[in-house]
């Protein structure tokens, strides 16, 4: 009896050691997320972090990332707050590059992405350029054309030019009676400003609309009476508002007071979120926005549910972070990264090269085409505010 007990104990100890050894050998791959987790755009950072954690959890539960030596590694996410300021964003990027993180996913704001991409090495492998050699795969910062700044910068954000072009084209076919567009723009925010002047205005005119005028306000303005009076005088069929939720809501409420009722309201991509519904669901009723995410299929719903478990909400930005995680897993496996701490820089280079090679990636709404300048051409939908929710109005693809 004693012998059996002794053998049992020996076996248990041996098993425990074996398990311990296996645990000790288990590798982790660090991915750094960064974005605004403080300030007025905090919700973007929270949602992106939640989506990244949810995606990593799903990948880890399925075994993790396959490495060059055939072993598997779990993904660990570290998320940094860049406060949506350029100097903090650059500081965060330098800190991330100083860790063993293999790639960064972020940032939230275009005014961070633009200078941040500027400190990365412009041409990969250029020994004369001492810029950071750290791949960054953006999920939120949406201002057009930023990825071309550096060969280490990649983006999985929707192409607003394509989306608004398609939307105005569809509107022209569907409602030929609408002929004029009036623009309202939040003048002091990089994304909203660029979207009106470079995208909406241009695309509306290209699709045969007459631009009846434009009015401007600032992000933190509190009184929109003058701007809405200009809007009222123009009496345009379509009012396009290129602004973030706080000032969008202020303008919509002033429009209601002054009785300005255009035939159609068009909004900024980033406004198709929970924020607008919390601020002014009633006044936003009928607003139409092109977006690269809506939970319209099984994958989208599952991603949204998984993100909700990590206390985030699914929108076009956070779901880009979700997609990025799966794209990175695919790239890390195809490029056969080692996952060893001593090979961090080599692995970063492999990830960069792998991302640059991609022609098509899988997205929640379908396949995303990758462009030569490291941008994405994502599938999209048109959504409309209805009864306090964003509902799909049309799927053009």
């Amino acid at each position: 009896m004693k012998k059996i007990a002794l053998k049992g104990i020996t076996a248990a100890v041996a098993l425990a050691f074996a398990a311990g050894g296996a645990l000790a050998q288990e590798k982790t791959i660090k991915i750094a997320g960064f974005g605004a987790k403080s300030g007025v755009v905090r919700s973007f950072g929270i949602n992106s972090e939640a989506a990244m954690l949810a995606a990593a959890d799903q990948i880890n539960k399925a075994g993790g990332v396959a490495l060059a030596d055939g072993s598997k590694a779990k993904i660990k996410i570290d998320y940094y707050d860049d406060r949506c300021t350029a100097e903090e964003g650059i500081s965060v990027a330098r800190r991330m590059a100083g860790t063993d993180a293999l790639v960064g996913v972020g940032p939230t704001c275009s005014n961070v992405a633009e200078p941040l991409f500027g400190i990365l090495q412009k041409k990969a492998g250029d020994a004369s350029d001492s810029g950071l050699q750290f791949p960054i795969f953006s999920d939120v910062a949406i201002k057009g054309g930023l990825a071309r700044i550096s060969e280490w910068s990649f983006r999985n954000v929707p192409n607003e030019m394509t989306m608004y072009s398609s939307m105005f084209y569809w509107l022209k076919q569907k409602h030929p009676e609408m002929k004029t567009v009036f623009g309202g723009v939040e003048e002091d925010f990089a994304h909203s400003r660029a979207t009106w002047y470079v995208v909406m205005k241009d695309r509306a005119a290209a699709n045969g609309y007459t631009i009846a005028g434009e009015t401007k306000w600032l992000l933190a303005d509190t009184n929109f009476a003058t701007q809405v009076r200009e809007m009222k005088k123009a009496n345009a069929d379509v009012v396009a508002i290129s602004a973030h939720p706080f000032s969008t809501c202020g303008v919509l409420k002033e429009m209601q007071r002054q009785g300005v009722k255009p035939k159609l309201l068009v909004g900024l991509t980033s406004t198709s979120s929970l924020e607008t519904m919390q601020g002014c669901a009633k006044q936003a009723e009928g607003m139409m926005i092109p977006t690269s995410f809506a939970p319209v299929n099984k994958e989208g719903k599952a991603a949204a549910d998984a993100t909700a478990k990590f206390k985030g909400s699914a929108d076009l930005h956070s779901m880009a972070a979700w997609e990025n995680m799966f794209i990175l897993k695919q790239v890390m496996e195809s490029e056969k990264i080692s996952g060893n701490p001593k090979d961090v820089q080599a692995d970063r280079r492999k990830i960069r090269d792998g991302l640059a090679k991609l022609k098509v990636t899988k997205g929640l709404l379908g396949d995303t085409k990758r462009t030569e300048d490291r941008e994405a051409d994502k599938p999209y939908l048109f959504v409309q505010a209805k009864g306090g929710n964003w509902v799909v109005l049309h799927n053009p693809l």
């Binding site: 007025v40 009476a225 003058t226 002014c280």
Partner: protein, 292 residues
């Protein structure tokens, strides 16, 4: 001409909220000769607290929200007093000033963390009322804000000039040492000043929320700047000055927005401030020089 009158009236009505914020700055300065830079942030914080009523009693009337904001503003005022003035050596002006800057950032960040920075719908009274005279219109909710602001100012002036507390407050503002020798508890008067300005701030925050229709932490910094401008133009320590300057800045800003656009508007407001600082540094209603 109609555009000018319309812009001016819109601006003046909205300027009432600037006046309320300006009064808070000026009253504290008048009594303690200190600047409380966290005042506008605490006012917006009070307005956010007002929304708690809607969380507990969904469908509560806007007046209940405003009243809760009023009370919360007073409480926040007292907390600001304790944190930034009571336990900090008052003889060091920089220490209290920096403490209020810290409090501004703290209140701002607390709001951001509690709301994730999302704009929140704020209830209003008479927001569906629009008075019309031909093309000329007046917003019912802004008129309400204007009337409430005027009532608050009248109440404050009555408190200052018709009550023993007001007498004590004025005594401390004129000569703190002499007031203490007369048996007035200076610390208590200072604390009460913060509570009163806090109550006023709660109302100001609620009125701003009601007139915009939405609350956001984005409001704290611009309101702090506007409050300071109003205080300087009105004359540091002058309540009538803050009222007149608030309406003046509101009207000036709105007219300039109409004719010069939003990108130049703030430039001219700052220019107005510089003009006052150079040619009339004491502001519109510069208090008479005291004995010391």
């Amino acid at each position: 001409m109609l555009d000018f009158i319309q812009s001016l009236s819109d601006g003046v009505l909205f300027g009432a909220t600037y006046a309320l914020i300006g009064i808070g700055f000026t009253l504290v300065f008048g009594v303690m000769h200190k600047l409380n830079l966290s005042y506008a942030a605490a006012s917006v914080g009070g307005a956010y607290c007002g929304l708690l009523v809607l969380k507990v009693f969904a469908g509560a009337p806007p007046l209940a929200v405003f009243f809760c904001a009023f009370l919360a503003g007073g409480l926040l005022g007292y907390i600001v007093y304790l944190a930034c003035f009571h336990f900090i050596p008052i003889s060091n002006p920089l220490a209290t000033l920096m403490a209020t800057v810290g409090m501004l950032l703290l209140v701002d960040e607390v709001i951001v963390h509690q709301t994730d920075g999302m704009p929140l719908n704020y209830p209003a009274l008479f927001d569906d009322v629009m008075l019309r005279a031909g093309e000329f219109t007046l917003r019912g909710d802004l008129l309400m804000v204007f009337v409430v602001s005027i009532l608050c100012m009248a109440g404050l002036l009555a408190l200052l000039y018709r009550t023993r507390l007001g007498l004590a407050t004025r005594a401390v503002s004129q000569q703190a040492v002499a007031a203490q020798l007369c048996g007035i508890r200076v610390g208590q008067v200072n604390a009460m000043t913060f509570v009163i300005t806090g109550l006023l701030g709660g109302i100001a925050g609620a009125m701003i929320g009601a007139s915009v229709g939405t609350l956001s932490p984005l409001l704290t910094t611009p309101l702090t700047i506007k409050g300071l401008i109003v205080t300087v133009i009105g004359g540091l320590g002058s309540i009538p000055g803050a009222i007149v300057a608030g309406l003046l800045v509101g009207g000036f800003e709105s007219v300039l927005q109409q004719y010069r656009g939003v990108t130049e508007r703030d430039l001219y407001v700052m220019l107005l401030l510089f003009v006052f600082l150079v040619f009339r540094p004491g502001g519109l209603f510069a208090p008479k020089e005291g004995r010391d």
